[in-house]
């Protein structure tokens, strides 16, 4: 076949094919997800927690409320620590913060050997009994920590069960009244 005939045939083919190439449309979209460090903690339980102090409690200088609630946590990063702090008691006429301590503990009762109670510090950081102003809860590695993926690595979500509360240093010289404070839980990366 002569070259000019080949060229003509090629042109005809191009003219025939070109419309077909325009017969469809294509586009694309890119997807991106930015995941920041996310840590969440919440207390689930009675609110308020009420200590109904009796004469026996005053004589024993303490009163405990056992198994009052749970702390649920969620985190996509580790390690982390849950911090607990409170406002000072509203004891206007009973010295500085009233001298009454609040303690918190978690875990089943068999772990209650007296060593697991943590002092919940007043935000005013009363120096006589609260040198760091914060109690803490271990983030992971304790047998009662629940972790959904089973590896206790602190990533995922879980629950500190059996939150116990205790007031200490109760005394007969505390005037009858209702005293309140607000406890705050926070979770933060180590």
């Amino acid at each position: 076949m002569k070259p000019h005939l080949l060229l003509l045939l090629a042109l005809l083919l191009m003219l025939t094919v070109a419309p077909a190439a325009r017969a469809s449309g294509t586009d694309s979209v890119e997807i991106s997800v930015t995941i920041n460090e996310i840590l969440v903690v919440e207390y689930v339980g009675d609110d308020p927690v009420e200590f109904d102090v009796t004469a026996d409690d005053l004589n024993e200088h303490s009163k405990a409320l056992i198994n009052q609630g749970s702390i649920n946590w969620w985190s996509n990063t580790a390690p982390w620590t849950v911090y607990v702090k409170r406002t000072c008691w509203d004891l206007e006429n009973y010295g500085e913060d009233g001298g009454v301590e609040l303690q918190v503990k978690y875990g089943p009762p068999d772990y209650d050997n007296g060593q697991n109670w943590q002092l919940v510090g007043c935000e005013d950081h009363h120096p006589s009994y609260d040198h760091d102003g914060e109690a803490w809860v271990e983030p992971y590695g304790f047998p009662w920590v629940f972790s959904p993926d089973g590896d206790d690595d602190g990533i995922g979500n879980g629950t500190f069960t059996g939150i116990d509360w205790k007031v200490k240093k109760l005394d007969w010289n505390i005037p009858p009244d209702t005293y309140t404070c607000t406890v705050t839980f926070t979770i933060a990366p180590d």
């Binding site: 449309g25 997807i31 930015t34």
Partner: protein, 167 residues
């Protein structure tokens, strides 16, 4: 034998008549083919697609992590076609780029009122239709999240192929 004068004159007259006839008959025919061309319009089957944006950015918070899904985002596909068409989606790679090999199936999409479908590397038909001009097809996307796997970082999936082709 030489042509006589009369005969030559007669031959010239005949030639002049034929030439005149050709001018009268042939030239108008030639002029017609030049000045009044025929028009040929060949309309191919054409399908065109335009997306209202080229990327979707998700920044999930704690509630979305807890729910296991990002909030949905809508991508608007505008289809123009003079023939029947189908809008199809497919992934192009099996994993995201990021802190871990997040699978393509964590991208879920839906079109219209149906449920969400996991994106795969195989084309899936999102919508179909006939000839139209700038018909809007909303494509809803959401991303599966998991506290334990989706550690902090940037995850990118490049890219989802969206085509409008024959059904």
């Amino acid at each position: 034998m030489p042509m006589s004068g009369n005969r030559l004159a007669r031959s010239l007259a005949q030639f002049a008549c034929i030439a005149a006839l050709l001018v009268f008959i042939g030239l108008p025919a030639w002029a017609d083919s030049e000045d009044d061309p025929d028009f040929y319009l060949s309309v191919p089957g054409v399908r065109a697609l335009k997306l209202d944006r080229t990327s979707l950015q998700f920044t999930p918070g704690a509630q979305e992590m807890e729910a296991g899904w990002t909030q949905q985002q809508v991508l608007l596909a505008r289809v123009s076609a003079n023939v029947e068409w189908a809008l199809k989606l497919s992934g192009t790679v099996g994993q995201w780029e990021g802190p871990w090999d997040k699978p393509v199936g964590d991208i879920h999409w839906k079109c219209g009122g149906g449920g969400y479908t996991a994106l795969t590397l195989t084309e899936a038909v999102a919508a179909e239709g006939g000839p139209c001009n700038q018909q809007t097809v909303p494509l809803h996307f959401r991303i599966r999240l998991d506290w334990a796997n989706d550690t902090p970082g940037e995850y990118t999936y490049s890219y989802i192929l969206i085509e409008v082709t024959q059904p």
